[in-house]
């Protein structure tokens, strides 16, 4: 009796074990088979261009309306890695360069820590906590900033207030003074083209002029910025030194700005002055017409 009972128990355990092990094996086998439903990529123009291709992935409505999606402006606490904070922070970067930039001081956004946005009357007000970095000395500083983007139809520039700690620590006085004295006398007007060049390179002597072009561009980028733009200077196409006037070094700059959202390259001509005391000023700015690439292409066989 005892033996039969134990035999039975062990026998039933064998079968339970087998069943319990076979089932997961089948499951394992199936999981490596990828199930793909839905139509393949459509061919030809008989498909409506705005229809969403049928696929298991589309869980929302299958009929998507042909309406341009308007950007709803975020209000309240901002996600530091999302674009509204980043765009506003870049505006602060441009502002800081207009205030403190020079041939030896060029500031870039390092990190957005926190931010908030709110509607104030017709305007949009941002508050941001940022880390900025001076890119020549690599010194970083913490900044608090407040921006006002004007609402309505006017194209006026955003208003920025910012205070930073530790950002301007690097001592640029000696270099700036040497640079100023070197180029102040009129006997050797300096000029340059394509800074940086196609490979990202430039002569070392051109570097301060690159920085100066970036700082000068910041005046334009600040003025042109809104919540739907993100500007960087892509390149100094060329610059030419002019006669020093009123103790200011003077230059004509042709700069290429990259606007990230439209992906456009925008050409500006600037009349730029600088001295260690007065800092960078942009006396004149002129938007250049776009379409030098609208002509017939040159022979591009490689």
């Amino acid at each position: 009796m005892y033996n039969k009972f134990s035999d039975l128990t062990v026998w039933s355990m064998d079968w339970t074990l087998l069943i319990l092990l076979v089932v997961p094996t089948l499951v394992h086998g199936n999981s490596t088979v990828t199930v793909r439903t839905g139509s393949g990529p459509p061919v030809g123009s008989d498909q409506h261009p705005n229809s969403v291709p049928l696929s298991e992935d589309i869980q929302t409505t299958t009929e998507v309306r042909e309406v341009v999606v308007e950007e709803v402006m975020t209000t309240g606490v901002l996600n530091p890695s999302h674009y509204p904070a980043r765009r506003a922070a870049t505006v602060v970067q441009h502002y800081l360069n207009t205030r403190y930039g020079s041939p030896y001081r060029w500031i870039f956004l390092s990190k957005v820590h926190s931010g908030s946005a709110e509607d104030v009357a017709e305007m949009r007000k941002y508050q941001l906590e940022l880390t900025m970095q001076e890119t020549i000395s690599n010194v970083s500083g913490q900044c608090s900033a407040e921006l006002l983007f004007p609402g309505g139809e006017g194209q006026s520039a955003p208003q920025v207030q910012a205070s930073c700690e530790g950002l301007l620590q690097s001592n640029t006085t000696a270099q700036e003074e040497a640079f100023y004295q070197q180029h102040r006398a009129s006997n050797n007007m300096v000029s340059g083209t394509d800074i940086p060049d196609s490979y990202g390179l430039m002569e070392p002597s051109m570097k301060p002029f690159w920085h100066l072009g970036g700082v000068a561009s910041s005046f334009i980028m600040l003025r042109e910025s809104n919540e739907s733009t993100l500007y960087n200077m892509a390149q100094v196409a060329n610059f030419t030194q002019l006669e020093t006037e009123k103790d200011q070094l003077r230059f004509n700059y042709h700069v290429l700005l990259h606007e990230m959202i439209s992906q456009e390259i925008i050409h500006w001509k600037l009349l730029v002055t600088w001295s260690p005391e007065q800092g960078v000023q942009v006396l004149q700015s002129e938007l250049q017409p776009k379409c030098h690439d609208c002509e017939a292409p040159p022979n591009t066989t490689n």
Partner: protein, 402 residues
């Protein structure tokens, strides 16, 4: 396969046990149980280890060969074409090429297919570079990626395993016409689009290839002005380059585990979709894998790459190749925006090519490893092995008690 071996072994052991049961030598039976239990545990831990052993150990030693100079410079299209031939010549067992389309100006669009040959159909990884002409760091990265997997597949067990189980389909330059045009002179350096002519009285050239795919085409983040940099074309797939990719992906869609498209600049990893009102069904997984890749990137040279959908971290846009990849069912679809964050922008200095490629490789490696392990080391297998061992342990206890 490791799992199949363990099943066979344990099932064979089961039959032996059944025989022993008749003999009723309980002592021997107990020892056999314990032995099998420990065998099961060992096999289980081996499976788990090799499945999760693909940690992102980013120890990229700089090789002291002349090759190093090649991969720290930008190369024009004829150099890249010659390089593709060289890769095939030097690695005939693992590298072949395929022309899978033509550009507007009738140039070949070529990919390298890299993997250890096998008799069956293999899963695939898709990578393309240079869909936007001015983003020169992207083709440089594709070249670096190819060089790295060819350099390491014989000695690195993980890369070797991936080369066995997967084929890599890598297009170093997708927008060949645009890339060549961007090399023409300094004034063409910042060209972005294809080189097809405008239509309907519009005299500008080019369509933004990354707005031209059949993925919510024309809905958001595009322009209908043919002079615009984000011109989406007269209709979806109006551009032969976009059509070539669509055609290839369509043929391979069952097999592709991951789709990676390389761009610059911005230091971001984008996940689908570009339309703000549509979420990928595996959004959480995409974010998790993306964040893991960003962590791997940061461990190389401490660069921050932001991860998110384009409508969240960049801007909304439709008609992208990444969206198309996800729409036809490729589970892992990523856009890499490489260095920098705007100081040099598209004109990244050559001395940054190597570090950029190193960190991007770590990121891509993370995604590819995840995709590979998900299929070849599925969690069901791990669960089953755990069950085996638990039941054996239970059997041991019951054998003692009875």
């Amino acid at each position: 396969m490791l799992m199949n071996e363990s099943y066979t072994k344990l099932y064979g052991a089961l039959r032996i046990i059944t025989k022993y049961r008749l003999v009723k030598e309980r002592g021997t039976l107990l020892m056999m149980m314990l032995g099998l239990g420990s065998v099961g545990l060992v096999l289980l831990s081996l499976a788990v280890q090799s499945g999760h052993g693909a940690q992102d150990s980013a120890v990229w030693s700089r090789e002291e060969t002349t090759e190093r100079n090649y991969y720290t410079r930008y190369h024009n299209m004829s150099e890249i074409t010659a390089w593709m031939e060289q890769m095939k010549r030097e690695n005939p067992d693992v590298v072949s090429s395929m022309v899978y389309g033509q550009t507007y100006e009738r140039r070949n669009i070529t990919l390298l297919k890299i993997g250890l040959s096998s008799t069956g159909r293999k899963k695939a990884i898709w990578m393309d570079c240079g869909i936007h002409a001015r983003e020169w760091i992207a083709p440089a990265f594709c070249q670096y990626f190819v060089k790295e997997i060819l350099r390491t597949y014989k000695t690195d067990t993980k890369v070797n395993e991936m080369m066995k189980n997967l084929d890599f389909y890598i297009t170093p330059v997708l927008n060949v016409d645009g890339y060549i045009y961007s090399w023409h002179n300094e004034s063409t350096r910042l060209w972005r689009k294809s080189r097809s002519p405008g239509t309907g009285g519009c005299t500008c050239y080019g369509t933004d290839l990354n707005r031209n795919f059949y993925a919510n085409w024309g809905m958001v983040g595009v322009s209908t002005d043919c002079c615009s940099q984000t011109y989406c074309g007269t209709k979806a797939l109006s551009e032969s380059e976009a059509w070539a990719v669509t055609d290839m992906l369509g043929k391979m869609r069952e097999d592709i585990l991951a789709f990676i498209t390389i761009h610059s600049y911005g230091q971001q990893l984008l996940v689908p979709y570009g339309h703000p009102n549509i979420s990928a069904p595996n959004h959480d997984e995409l974010m998790e894998v993306g964040l893991g890749a960003a962590k791997a990137i940061k461990s190389v040279h401490r660069m921050d790459y932001t991860v998110g959908t384009s409508p969240d971290i960049l801007y909304p846009f439709s008609g992208s190749s990444q969206d198309f990849g996800r729409l036809i069912g490729i589970p892992l679809s990523f856009t890499f925006e490489l260095r920098d964050k705007g100081k040099h922008g598209f004109e990244l200095p050559e001395d940054q090519i190597q570090p950029t490629c190193e960190e991007a490789y770590a990121g891509a490696h993370h995604i590819i490893t995840y995709a590979h392990n998900k299929v070849f080391y599925s969690y069901a297998a791990t669960f089953t092995a755990t069950l085996w061992t638990t039941l054996l342990a239970a059997w041991v206890s019951s054998a003692i008690l009875l």
